[in-house]
Amino acid sequence: MTDLSTPTLATPLFPAANADRAAPATGHIRVEQLRVVFGRGANATLAVDDASIEVKPGEFVSIIGPSGCGKSTLLNVVAGFVAPTAGSSTVDGKPTDKPGADRGMVFQQYSLFPWLTVRKNVEFGLRQQGLPLSRREQMARTLLGLAGLLAFENHYPDQLSGGMRQRVGIVRALATSPQVLLMDEPFGALDAQTRQVMQQILTNMWQRFKLSVLFITHDIDESIYLSDRVYVMTARPGRIKAEIPIDLPRPRTPEIAFTPEFLALKQQLRALISAESLLAMGGELKDGGLEGFELSVGEKGVGDLL
C-alpha cells in the first residue's frame, strides 16, 4: 500500500514526498461486506457476496475480474443505482442510497446527450445546481480548455471520435466537482492506441483534480498502469479474491509496461484472473471446449474432418 494511507500527513510536513498528490480530506469510499441479490425466490441471483473495498481520499483503485463477475454491480451500488441486499456502502460516511453529483460517473457506453453540444453537455450538471447561464458557460469553457477540447465546444457528440466523446464524458463528470469518480470500463469500446492515450489523459486529470477514483476494468495492463491498488474479483458471485498494491513510481509512462516490476505484477494478476475466467465460463467449456478442436486439422483445413 502506498503512503496515501495517511492523508493527514499530506500537507507541508512532507512536501517532497507528496507534493503533487496532497490527499484531500474527502472522497473516502467504503464498501463493507456488500451482498447484492438480484431477483427473488427461484430466480434470485447472487451477484456480489461479502465484498469489502476501500478507496482512500485521492487514491486510484481498480477492480478487475472476469466478465459478469459483479464488478459493475459493485460500482452501481457506490453510484447509488443498486441498493445493497446486505452490507453497506458509504462515501465520506454517507450511505450511497441514491445517485448524486458528489459522485461523478463515466460509463462504458457513450453517454453524452446527443441533443446537446459539447459545452452544454459539460454544463448539464452545473445547470442542475441552479448556476446562472453565464457562470456555467464560463466554467464549462475553462474545463474544456484545460482538457484541450475548447475548439469542439459547439460540436455535437456525433461529430466527435470515440476517444473525444469519452474525454468530454470525463470532463462532464468532473464539472460538478465530485469527490469521487466512478468509471465503468470507460475505455472498453476504444481501440488500443486511443485507449493508451486516454489512460495518460486520465492519470493527468486525476493528479490535477486530486480525486478518488474507483475504476472497473478487465484489462490487466490498464489496471496496473493506472492504479495505486487493484482488487481482483472472483467469478460470480463476486467476492474480493485479492488486493494487490501497485507500488510503481509516478509519473508513469507507457514504457513502464516493460519494467520487471510491472511484468511481475502482471503475471501475478494474470494468474489470479485466469483461474476465475475459466470458472466464469464454466459451463461453456465442457468436452474439449478449451482446446477448440481436439484434433489437429490437415492440409485441406476443416474439409478433412467432414
Partner: protein, 331 residues
C-alpha cells in the same frame, strides 16, 4: 452545493508536464478526424492556454454550398418531377377529352382546362379564401391541442407506471375507433358544429402523437437517464431536459402522422356535418354540379396538407439540429 472547488479552475497547475504533452498527439489525431468530417471549421487547439475562436458548426452542413451549385444538383430531380406531373396532367387531359370509359368513367370529369378556368374565377372569391382559412384554423386548434395533450400525456404515461396503469387502458379502448365514427357523438357532445369539428380533428391527430411519444420515452437510452441522475438531475429536470429531448425524433414522427390523420378527419367531418371549410366546399361543389370545383377543392386540400407537413418538418429540423450531424456522421 453551489460552488466549484477552486482547484477546478486553476489553469496552470505546475504538476506533471509530460502527460499533458503526450495528449497532444491524440488531440491532433482526434481533431483531424473531426476536421475531416467537418470541412471549413477551424481546429486550432494546439495551445489550450489561448482559447481559439468559437467554432459554429451546428448549422446543417449542406447549407454551406452555393445556391447555384445546389440548384444545379437538384436539376435532374426537378426535371423528372416535372415529367411525372406532366404525364399525369396529359393523361387527365386526354381521358376527359375523349371521354374515356372503361369501367372507370371520365364522362363527367372536368378537364384540366375547365378546372383552370374555374380556379381563375375562384381566385377572386373571398368566400373561397374564407373556406381555406376556416379549415386551417380548425387544423391549428385541433392539431395544436392534440400536440400539447399528446406530448404531455405521452411523457407522463411513458415515464410513470401509475399514470400508465390509470390512463393507458382507456386510450387503448378508444384508439381503434376512427375519428370519423365520432361525428354523431361529437355533434351531441359539443355545443356547436365548430367545436365538434375541431374535436374530430383533435381526435384524429391525438393518438398518433400520444403513442409515438410513449414509444419515444420507452426507447430513451437508459445510460442517458443514469448519466443525468449522476449529474444531480431532479425528477422534473430529468423529464424536461433528458426524456423530452431524447424522445423528440419519435415525437416528430407522431406529429407528421398526426397531421396527416388530422386532415383526413377534418375533411370527413366538414363533408358530413360542416358549414364552411374546404371539405365542405368540395362536397358542396358536388351537390351543386360544379364538377370543376371538386377538383379545385381536392388540389387545395392536397397543397394545404403538404404545406402543414412541410411546416412540421421545418420545425423539427430547427428543434433538432443535432440530427443533421448524426446524418452527416453516417455518410
Amino acid at each position: 452545493m453551489l460552488t466549484v472547488h477552486p482547484r477546478l479552475l486553476e489553469p496552470d497547475d505546475p504538476v506533471e508536464r509530460t502527460p499533458v504533452d503526450r495528449t497532444q498527439a491524440d488531440r491532433t489525431q482526434a481533431e483531424r478526424i473531426a476536421a475531416a468530417a467537418l470541412p471549413g471549421t477551424a481546429t486550432d487547439t494546439t495551445a489550450p492556454a489561448s482559447p481559439p475562436e468559437p467554432v459554429v458548426v451546428a448549422a446543417p452542413l449542406p447549407a454551406r454550398q452555393g445556391l447555384g451549385a445546389r440548384l444545379l444538383a437538384a436539376l435532374p430531380g426537378m426535371l423528372s418531377a416535372a415529367l411525372s406531373l406532366g404525364l399525369f396532367v396529359a393523361f387527365w387531359y386526354f381521358a376527359t377529352k375523349y371521354k374515356l370509359d372503361f369501367y372507370i368513367r371520365f364522362n363527367n370529369i372536368p378537364s384540366p382546362g375547365e378546372v383552370w378556368q374555374n380556379a381563375v374565377i375562384l381566385s377572386d372569391s373571398v368566400r373561397f379564401y374564407e373556406n381555406m382559412a376556416i379549415s386551417m384554423r380548425r387544423i391549428l386548434f385541433g392539431f395544436g391541442i392534440a400536440t400539447v395533450l399528446g406530448i404531455a400525456l405521452g411523457l407522463l404515461i411513458g415515464q410513470y407506471r401509475p399514470v400508465r396503469a390509470l390512463l393507458f387502458p382507456v386510450f387503448e379502448v378508444l384508439r381503434p375507433i376512427p375519428a370519423i365514427a365520432w361525428v354523431p357523438m361529437a355533434i351531441m357532445l359539443w355545443p356547436s358544429n365548430e367545436t365538434s369539428i375541431v374535436f374530430i380533428t383533435f381526435l384524429g391527430s391525438f393518438f398518433p402523437i400520444l403513442l409515438n411519444t410513449i414509444h419515444g420515452v420507452n426507447s430513451v437510452d437508459p445510460v442517458l437517464v443514469r448519466a443525468a441522475r449522476c449529474l444531480g438531475a431532479s425528477e422534473s429536470a430529468l423529464l424536461r431536459q433528458v426524456i423530452l429531448p431524447a424522445s423528440l425524433p419519435h415525437i416528430f414522427t407522431g406529429l407528421a402522422i398526426g397531421m396527416g390523420v388530422a386532415w383526413v378527419s377534418l375533411i370527413a367531418a366538414e363533408m358530413i356535418s360542416g358549414q364552411y371549410g374546404i371539405g365542405y366546399f368540395t362536397w358542396e361543389a358536388y351537390s351543386l354540379i360544379e364538377y370543376a370545383d371538386i377538383a379545385i377543392g381536392m388540389i387545395v386540400i392536397g397543397v394545404l396538407g403538404l404545406a402543414c407537413s412541410g411546416a412540421i418538418r421545418l420545425v423539427g429540423n430547427a428543434l433538432m439540429p443535432w440530427l443533421a450531424s448524426q446524418r452527416g456522421a453516417e455518410k
